[in-house]
Symmetry: C2
Subunit: 217 residues, 2 copies
């Protein structure tokens, strides 16, 4: 691999940024099983770069909790304990209703229509039994609401939590019964339409907590 002259000076497409985004998406969508081992040289080779940018991407993802570094520096996707899952679920249950409530005053009919469209795609994923598809479109649903809240710092925290849950959620949604996954989304849409903040907070909290609580005990 010869030294590649830097063609593109755009910082948004620097080597470590590309690896970071690619890995982040894979992890958040649950496309990497918990406990999977990664290597810097492997990642570098996979993306056609040296170890340096791979290391930076890994460090960044580790700081966000998306990857685990062992005591000896080995890299792997995290295997979450039940306690940790409960904590992360509680955090979602605290923050996401707040984001929804902040989005509510700005939720016009156009937004709700787009949400309905995404929700239809969520249903497709459920009937197709496609966990990755489900996770991706479900996050899209939530993110579209939260973007309206104009609260980037809160959204960043929530996305970090999604990231930490990613590998585990995939396993989770493949082993559980999929009944009524859509009920909460319908309740969210109703509350958004009616402008009913307490109902919205409740529906959001249920949607977020329900799927994860069943892992405990």
């Amino acid at each position: 691999m010869a030294t590649q002259p830097r063609i593109n000076p755009d910082p948004a497409s620097s080597a470590h940024e590309r690896i970071y985004r690619a890995l982040r998406t894979l992890i958040m969508h649950g496309e990497i099983a918990p406990g999977t081992a990664l290597t810097l040289r492997g990642l570098g080779a996979e993306f056609g770069v040296s170890m340096t940018p791979a290391r930076e991407a890994v460090r960044r993802l580790a700081a966000e909790g998306a990857l685990t570094l062992s005591a000896t520096g080995r890299i792997s996707t995290p295997e979450l304990s039940h306690e940790r899952i409960e904590e992360l679920a509680s955090l979602r249950g605290l923050i996401e209703p707040e984001l929804a409530a902040r989005a509510l005053p700005r939720a016009h009919i156009a937004l709700i229509d787009r949400l309905r469209a995404i929700n239809a795609r969520v249903s497709e994923c459920v009937t197709k039994q496609d966990a990755v598809c489900y996770l991706r479109t479900n996050m899209e649903f939530h993110r579209l609401i939260y973007l309206r809240a104009q609260a980037p710092a809160m959204l960043a925290v929530v996305e970090t939590i999604w990231l930490q849950l990613g590998p585990t959620m995939r396993v989770l949604y493949e082993t559980r019964q999929r009944t009524d996954l859509q009920r909460h989304h319908r309740a969210i849409l109703s509350a958004l339409t009616a402008g009913d903040e307490p109902a919205l907070r409740l529906a959001m909290r249920s949607d977020v907590t329900q799927g994860l609580k069943m892992l405990e005990g």
Copy 2:
């Protein structure tokens, strides 16, 4: 600077870890003003290492929001907008009461005594008009409570938020009147002693939100 042979193989004291911890403490305690520029070579020289570990520490801190990377890659401590401060304050107001409530069943008299001792040191810092001292001991007070909650993921999120607020809080606490900074801490101690969860949640929320809300508007 000649190549330093690796004396200490302990991963907890690797070069990038040392820089990370040192910088993190400085930032969280508000010892670096918002908008201060840093350089990789400068940090490396300061800690007697090359750019490589400095870069990793910076990348990690940037991922946590403790440092800002400009579009051209320049490194600086963040200058938070009022909106962002409000968001971070709201997050604290959501999460920290929950942590306190989780700690409550485990809060024995020994813990409360230690909290009283820390609180006395907080008072000293206030009378000394020492902002850094105040921030450090105040965080110690909160962290000691939250450690009892046995919720490492939640605590990590909260500490990340403290980290983001660090440089700004210093400025904040130097320009405001310091009346009744201790009132909330006393209320927290009372509620802990009485085992009164609703009062504890309320006192914690007030303590956390009060100081930061005055920046808006």
